[in-house]
């Protein structure tokens, strides 16, 4: 038990390191709600300005990565008067404790809110191994 905790911690520290960016510009952390029910984990993330084609969701080795590139909606000839937000990249990673059924992941992006349904995998069934 202790060992597994330490491993998790080591893993967490590794995840803290931010992956190197290939595109210039600021990176933003989207606000999220995460909740769990018996059969699934749901993630809701506020990502204003994100279009479905710019959204990347990646799940591997229990690490869920959300990233999206937002391009500026402003036209060339516009000059700025007041500026309170910038466009850039949304990026956030989570470590999931449950095993997720990758085939049944459901995503919806409406009005800048991403909803991600991650169904839990049914308990791994014991496999019969026959010796020939």
């Amino acid at each position: 038990m202790k060992e597994s905790l330490e491993m998790q911690k080591a893993d967490g520290e590794k995840l803290q390191a931010f992956p190197e960016q290939t595109r210039p510009g600021p990176v933003y952390t989207p606000a999220v709600d995460i909740f769990e029910s018996d059969d699934r984990i749901s993630v809701l993330a506020d990502m204003p300005g994100v279009k479905a084609k710019d959204l990347k969701i990646d799940l591997r080795e229990n690490v869920l990565t959300l990233s999206a590139q937002v391009s500026s909606p402003e036209a060339q000839g516009e000059s700025s008067i007041l500026r309170e937000f910038e466009t850039g990249t949304f990026f956030r990673q989570f470590t999931l404790s449950e095993v997720i059924d990758q085939a049944k992941i459901d995503t919806k992006l409406t009005d800048g809110v991403l909803r991600l349904e991650l169904p839990k995998l049914e308990k791994a069934k014991p496999r019969q191994i026959t010796v020939h």
Partner: protein, 150 residues
Amino acid sequence: MLLRRVWPSRPAFDNPFADFGQLRREMQRMFEAWDGVREPQAGVFPPMNVTQDNDNFYVRAEMPGIAAKDLSISAVRNRVSIAGKREIPPENEQVSYHRKERAQGEFNRIVTLPSELAADKVDARYSDGILTLTLPKAEEAKPRQITVKS
């Protein structure tokens, strides 16, 4: 994508030093771009960008997950007000939250623009969580090209 707010919500158009303010903002943006990751910070809601070209002002506000029917926008003279509410519908089934960061509630913001508007021609669009208002300048406020006669 909220930035720390360091300038008042009403930009000072009649201030002779307004251009310095603009310069300062641009500098700050430049420095912030180097910082890399930014954490969400408390501040105004909704965060807005206001720009202009020769004919129009453009107000863009980040407000994800808002139903168009919950928005009320009005323009009078040189002011535009955006009011509304954001509701996050409760989950039907029994769920346990791990994180709850998304905020909800009512909001109301008024922006004063540098010149009069043609209030009857204002156009509002909401897509991908961003509200875009196109506010045509009043005819008398538009810059005019003056030809010099020789």
